[in-house]
């Protein structure tokens, strides 16, 4: 923070908050400060994501750490008049704990932040991502300086290896080992690739890091380049992330101007440059070989490994691919040391992990916790529990090919291996919470719909198998399932997992297998009891007209899109179940509450 100011107003400028008009808020705050002649005393900073997206836009006031939530642009005047000028907190804009109704001023005391530990997200929400000086002020680029001037590449690799860091993109492959293999591949030209093609629906940690702290990724890529002997880096980023792209470009430009990219970095003979390549909307490009083919201008179809990219990757040269979050953690490991990092987390999963909490949860947002934190802590303490007081049913981790975990897994310490053992996976860290209203069969169907759409089509089990799985689930949800389907569903799920070419097909049946394991009774009910226990699957619904209350006004009959309701005026109407499409319009339109659902 620039010390010439007495006070800083940090305003979230992430995609989510901008959608909630945070840029107007920033503008008005600046105008208001100027109007009061305070622009030299108080600085307004547009930062990256604070993580607490549920309550955006957010303003955090430093040095007193006051945390204002859900602001509107018109609140700017009051913030300046009351907080900045008079030093009084504005109670109505402070966070209220939904359970205790207690008003909390300091972010430190909020359940959402209390259990978090921020390594990858250390600068998100603290610095202006478009100003390299702010990154440098928080020790930015000192890790690369240390590497270049005090350490040999193999010493850096050793440090990363000792830290126990595992790739945050999904596979969990030890990062140091990957660097070591790439460093040992002999070639004149090697590449460092940052995978920023975040495709998991419901995960947005990479976007947030790039929007909030792009320099940490740039610095780490350069460190990786130094270690493996590469002077070219490429960021492969989703074209759907315009703000992240813009900030990354600004950061690259600034780094170049400061001599932190280019030739003779820190006066050494190390040279490193970074280019950007754009994804174009293909989830499968998260798989490293598919990503590499996409960077080469081809269809993003994976190829069999080995050869691994570390040996033969982009343009057949040795290529080290890591994801955004992995890179963002590296500078901290170098500066604070591997021992410190390895002291956090569980035996085989070290450090922290960022999760994107979403779904039926009170505090939707981006969080970072030490590995080994339990699901219960994440969902109920940080996440603030289930929305609208409903009952927790399941949490889906690992994106579309993860599994659904349940009540019995709540005390599971989260790490790479525990999630896999429980039939799910870490993936990139998406966490979608579901409540009692969600049907698990329909959920599995939703995920399969995603994989069907995103399968590249190269291998038969993924191309056709997922399609058939989706069709079978549709059959179940549409009340047409038979006993045999359940066996076929299970067999096909196992075979698709076992025989698919890449990680997409090897995991896509996880939502089915995990829900069949944990919620078999729901599958059973769909087939044998002919009902959907959560009531989500429309096909099982039966609408009836209550003869006692129906006055025969004909409103329902007139509104029925399929003319399934018959009856004459002033007499009780009847719904023809064969024609009824269960849209529920009749129930909505009836003024006498005489239509009911079984």
């Amino acid at each position: 923070m620039d010390t010439k100011y007495r006070m800083h107003l940090l305003v979230c400028g992430g995609t989510g908050c901008i959608a909630s008009k945070s840029s107007q808020l920033i503008q008005l705050l600046k105008e208001e400060l100027e109007a009061n002649g305070l622009e030299k005393e108080v600085q307004v900073i547009s930062t990256g994501c604070f993580g607490f997206c549920e309550k955006g836009p957010i303003v955090k006031v430093l040095p007193d750490n006051t945390f204002y939530t859900q602001l509107k642009p018109e609140d700017a005047k009051e913030i300046v008049a009351e907080h900045v000028i008079k030093g009084r907190y504005i109670e109505r804009l402070l966070y209220v704990n939904p359970e205790t109704q207690e008003i909390i001023r300091d972010a430190k005391n909020m359940g959402f932040y209390r259990k978090q530990m921020r390594i990858a997200l250390r600068n998100c929400g603290f610095i202006n991502p478009e100003n390299i000086d702010e990154y440098i002020a928080r020790n930015g680029y000192s890790a690369i300086a240390k590497c270049l001037t005090e350490m040999t590449p193999s010493e850096v690799i050793d440090e990363v290896k000792k830290s126990g860091m595992r790739g945050r993109g999904g596979g969990g492959f030890p990062t140091g080992l990957k660097w070591e293999i790439t460093s040992k591949s002999i070639s004149d030209q090697k590449y460092v690739v940052c995978n920023a093609d975040e495709g998991d629906p419901g995960a947005f940690m990479d976007r947030s890091v790039l929007e909030g702290d792009p320099h940490s990724v740039i610095e780490a890529m350069a460190i990786c380049g130094y270690c493996i002997g590469a002077n070219k880096g490429i960021v492969y980023i989703r074209a759907e992330y315009p703000l992240a792209i813009k900030r990354l470009k600004i950061a690259l430009q600034q780094a170049k101007e400061y001599g932190l990219l280019g030739e003779n970095i820190f006066g050494t003979d190390f040279e490193f440059t970074i280019d950007i390549k754009y994804g174009a909307g293909a989830f499968v490009c998260g798989e490293e070989t598919a990503l590499i083919h996409s960077m080469e201008g081809l269809r993003g179809e994976p190829t069999i490994k080995p050869p691994f990219p570390s040996v033969s990757g982009y343009l057949t040269q040795p290529t080290n691919v890591n994801n955004v979050e992995t890179f963002a953690s590296i500078p901290v490991i170098i500066l604070k040391g591997s021992e410190w990092f390895a002291s956090i987390g569980t035996e085989y999963s070290k450090g922290t992990k960022v999760f994107a909490l979403a779904g039926k949860i009170n505090n939707v947002g981006l969080i970072e916790v030490p590995m080994g934190t339990t699901l219960r802590e994440v969902i109920f303490e940080i996440g603030g529990g289930i929305k609208d007081g409903k009952k927790f049913k399941a949490v889906q981790t690992g994106g579309p090919s993860g599994g659904c975990l349940t009540e019995k897994h709540l005390d599971l310490p989260i790490d790479f291996d525990s999630l896999t053992a429980a039939g799910s996976m870490m993936g990139s860290g998406g966490m979608i919470v579901m409540d009692e209203d969600d049907c698990m069969v329909a959920m599995a169907k939703f995920y399969l719909e995603f994989t069907v759409e995103e399968s590249c089509g190269k291998c038969a089990p993924c191309r056709i198998g997922n399609k058939r799985l989706h069709e079978m689930l549709t059959k179940l949800c549409e009340a047409n399932g038979v006993e045999e389907d359940l066996d076929l569903l299970r067999n096909l799920s196992v075979v698709v997992k076992d025989t698919s070419l890449c990680g997409l097909g090897q995991t896509s049946p996880n939502p089915i297998l995990s829900t069949m394991e944990n919620f078999y009774e729901e599958y059973h009910a769909h087939v044998f009891d002919h009902k959907c226990p959560s009531g989500q699957c429309q096909s099982f619904r039966r609408y009836y007209i209550d003869a006692e209350h129906c006055i025969g006004c004909m409103v329902c009959a007139r509104n029925c899109p399929t003319n399934a309701i018959t009856g004459v005026k002033k007499q009780v109407h009847i719904i023809n179940q064969l024609i009824c499409i269960k849209c529920g319009v009749c129930m909505e339109k009836c003024k006498f509450d005489s239509i009911y659902l079984n």
């Binding site: 191309r463 076929l488 025989t499």
Partner: protein, 591 residues
């Protein structure tokens, strides 16, 4: 050779280091089924997307099954090929493939030749448990090839042939997921795409997704028409492959049986394209010598090297992809077309019939010949020189439909005069053969000396690009050979960049030349079959008394009676052609 020790199904084996599990298993006599995999060993062509997943095996220590075709053995690897897990996976995956494939096998063109069908039989599929939406596409019929993508299993063999081997670029995988299929850009018709009809996609397609346009019924109808004199010509490469359709060993020459069967089918005259091949050599070598002589005399306008032009796939290729170089190839028509134009003039005159009353049918190893016969420039008043061009496979079908017992039929000779040929004519069917035939004639014409050793081993073989220099009595003639259009492209680019040093280049579109043509019996990936066919053609040449085209008495007589000399006005009119820019450029408009 370095070897490593591995275990397959708990037995110890020593296998070559670096081998895939598939090759290692094969080397010790263990069969692993494959479907998308295609390895044309002698042609350095491999299609191994590891996409069909039929060849999956269990490897101890690996979480998932691995594809045997694309996984390298490492020392100590323990492979399981027979477990319930493996067998159930293969069957389930095959059922999936079949669930998106029509099951009209009984009436399918590929019935009995389909790799998918035999796989279903071998894996004992009796029921398809997984049912659901099937892919449907509009059937695309071009002059030579039919695309029926309902039957495509996305093995990508055709994509590999079209792009990597032939560099034609007509086909690509398009869309993704369940919607993915192989098609030209925008799913346009093949006819509108840069397709050359080389037919290599058809040659490798495991199912009936890509097949030839079948003209057998039309030919049967013509044969039954008493008003028509139906003349048939058979290309050199057909005789070395047709037998395979009747269970003969690859490389069995069935020339005589074929002629007899054709006569049984009711063809009025059974002739030989080899005759026209000799004629082609007369014209092509005359043109070559003309160009070389002018060049040696300092004429700088002369185009060298001269490229052969008897391969219609190749002609389509340069018209589509290198239109700016269309004046480099020889203007000589292909043997098929020379035959047609001579049959409908010289021979029709001899018979005293009108060309409209004659039907010329050709039996070709080729699909591009179908298109060639339909070219406007090869017709007089709308009457084509060659009416129908059938493939080797279609001829086999005709013979089978006519219930001719190919096994017991007695060999017969071709008819005169267009059935007589030299050994030079018969080697036209293999890569290197056309240029060898041309050299035999050009040498004697140029040097005016007798060539004693007619076999040029340095022109033979299967290497993609070959070159040699032949001493024409003090004048070194540099010759290049390429087969496969991708290799042709390399030589063309050399010419375009002014780096080519050849006088003459022979190009054949198909790997191996016509013996590997898109109309031949399916080799199912076994390149030994191509080698056997090649050997057979050289043996047929060796067995001939006359081995030089210009010594063919029927050819000499044709020039004496009808054409005059090579390159004469009449020869130009009947035996030469011109080429067109068919690159289909986008039209640029003013704003």
């Amino acid at each position: 050779m370095d070897t490593i020790n591995i275990k397959i199904d708990n037995k110890n084996f020593q296998v070559p280091k670096g081998a895939t599990i598939l090759d290692a298993a094969k080397s010790v006599g263990i069969n692993i089924p494959t479907l998308c995999y295609l390895n044309l060993h002698d042609l350095n062509t491999i299609n191994k997307p590891a996409g069909c997943r039929i060849c999956v095996v269990e490897v101890k220590g690996r979480k998932n099954l691995v594809p045997a075709c694309a996984t390298e053995c490492v020392a100590g690897m323990e492979i399981l090929n027979q477990t319930v897990r493996v067998l159930n996976s293969r069957k389930t995956v095959l059922e999936l493939i079949l669930s998106d494939h029509p099951t009209d096998c009984l009436i399918c063109t590929k019935n009995g030749h389909c790799d998918l069908q035999s796989m279903a039989m071998n894996l004992g599929i009796r029921e398809i448990h997984y049912k659901g939406e099937q892919s449907h596409y509009i059937k695309d019929t071009s002059p030579a090839i039919i695309r029926d993508m309902d039957k495509c299993i996305v093995c990508r063999r055709c994509v590999t042939m079209c792009n990597d081997v032939q560099t034609v670029g007509a086909l690509s995988a398009i869309n993704r997921g369940f919607m993915s299929v192989v098609a030209p850009a925008f799913e346009m018709n093949l006819e509108d795409s840069p397709c050359t009809y080389c037919g290599q996609c058809v040659a490798v397609c495991p199912t009936a997704a890509l097949t030839e346009v079948d003209h057998t019924n039309k030919v049967i109808r013509e044969l039954a028409n008493p008003k028509k004199t139906v003349v048939v010509q058979t290309a050199p490469a057909v005789r070395a492959a047709l037998g395979e359709e009747f269970g003969y060993e690859p490389g069995t020459l069935v020339t005589g049986k074929m002629a007899a069967a054709l006569r049984d089918l009711g063809f009025d005259y059974v002739f030989d394209t080899d005759f026209a091949a000799d004629l082609t050599i007369m014209e092509e070598s005359a043109e070559l010598l003309d160009r070389i002589t002018r060049h040696l005399n300092g004429d700088e306008t002369v185009k060298l090297p001269m490229l052969t032009s008897c391969c219609p796939g190749w002609v389509n290729f340069f018209e589509q992809h290198f239109p700016e170089m269309k004046d480099i190839p020889s203007t000589a028509r292909s043997p098929q077309q020379m035959f047609g134009s001579i049959a409908k003039t010289y021979f029709a005159d001899k018979l005293g019939i009108k060309r409209e009353d004659m039907v010329v049918v050709s039996i070709m190893p080729c699909l591009a010949k179908k298109y060639e016969s339909q070219r406007e420039e090869f017709a007089t008043n709308g009457n084509p020189d060659v009416d129908y061009s059938l493939t080797t496979r279609e001829l086999a079908r005709l013979i089978k439909q006519a219930n001719i017992d190919f096994d017991s039929i007695e060999p017969q000779d071709f008819d005169h005069p267009m059935g007589e040929s030299s050994g030079a004519g018969v080697i036209f069917g293999t890569t290197g053969g056309v240029i060898e035939a041309a050299v035999r004639t050009a040498y004697e014409v140029f040097t005016k000396e007798k060539l004693h050793k007619v076999e040029f081993q340095q022109l033979r073989g299967m290497d993609w690009i070959r070159e040699t220099t032949i001493d024409f009595n003090g004048t070194p003639i540099r010759i290049g050979i390429a087969h496969g259009l991708g290799n042709a492209r390399k030589l063309l680019e050399e010419i375009r960049d002014g780096k080519s040093h050849y006088h003459a280049i022979e190009i054949m579109a198909c790997p191996g030349g016509c013996i590997g043509g898109g109309g031949q019996p399916f080799h199912h990936g076994d390149t030994n079959i191509l080698l056997a066919r090649q050997k057979a053609l050289y043996a047929a040449d060796k067995a001939k008394v006359i081995r030089k085209s210009h010594e063919n008495p029927a050819i000499q007589k044709l020039y004496r009676e009808f054409l005059g000399s090579p390159m004469s006005k009449k020869a130009h009119e009947l035996l030469h052609t011109q080429y067109f820019d068919k690159s289909n450029q986008v039209e640029i408009t003013k704003d």
